[in-house]
Symmetry: C2
Subunit: 95 residues, 2 copies
DNA sequence: ATAAAGTAGTTTATATTATAAACCAAACAA
DNA sequence: TTGTTTGGTTTATAATATAAACTACTTTAT
């Protein structure tokens, strides 16, 4: 009845990050931080986890003199998100 | 943009318990355990938390010779669940 | 030139949560 | 009567989330 919710996605911040990335081509650290309201530390850790799970790719480079971290969702990430949403519907009575 | 998800409900097992209780008059420990697939220990702890938050009431009594624990969602619990679901929709792109 | 403040993060420590393991008391079954 | 099941609770440990402190550099003001 209640299907397991992917614990990597069942985290408020990671879910927000994925939810955001699913709607854009890519997004940088600062933008994600603003949109989610997360602290830098928390965001840094959660981006790592999403990256390790191969749900996002992370690109770090310098733009001019400033470091920049750009994140992009992977196919794997899209699949995991869709599955998560479907499973969640069991719980919240939609669909 | 991303509204905070009530941390008491943003837990797979507690969400399953509430989701289950919202659809029935009440339910006993064993039934909830079966439906959610949780272990007794985990379920015991999470029922306590939901009860402490005043999202459910817990009634313990003996039925014949056997102990019985019956849970029932409160108005507060219904409200919290509805709010949680609404907030969640921000994340999963429904509504 | 140098000090203060800002940017863009990472690392580490701590608090919170979830889970598993051990335990308890009674009932039932062989 | 010895083991097994029911119906849980308590305690210990593992996993997670979050906050605080720190790094490394840039920009701005003095």
């Amino acid at each position: 009845m209640y299907r397991k919710l992917n614990p990597i996605l069942h985290s408020q911040l990671r879910l927000a990050v994925i939810s955001l990335l699913i709607n854009v081509k890519d997004a940088d650290f600062t933008y994600i931080k603003e949109k989610t309201g997360a602290t830098s530390g928390n965001l840094s850790v959660q981006i790592d986890k999403l990256s390790e799970a191969d749900y996002i790719t992370v690109n770090k480079f310098f733009k001019g003199k400033k470091p920049k971290t750009v994140c992009k969702i992977t196919k794997n990430g899209i699949k995991a998100f869709e599955e998560y949403v479907n499973n969640l519907k069991n719980y919240i009575g939609i669909g």
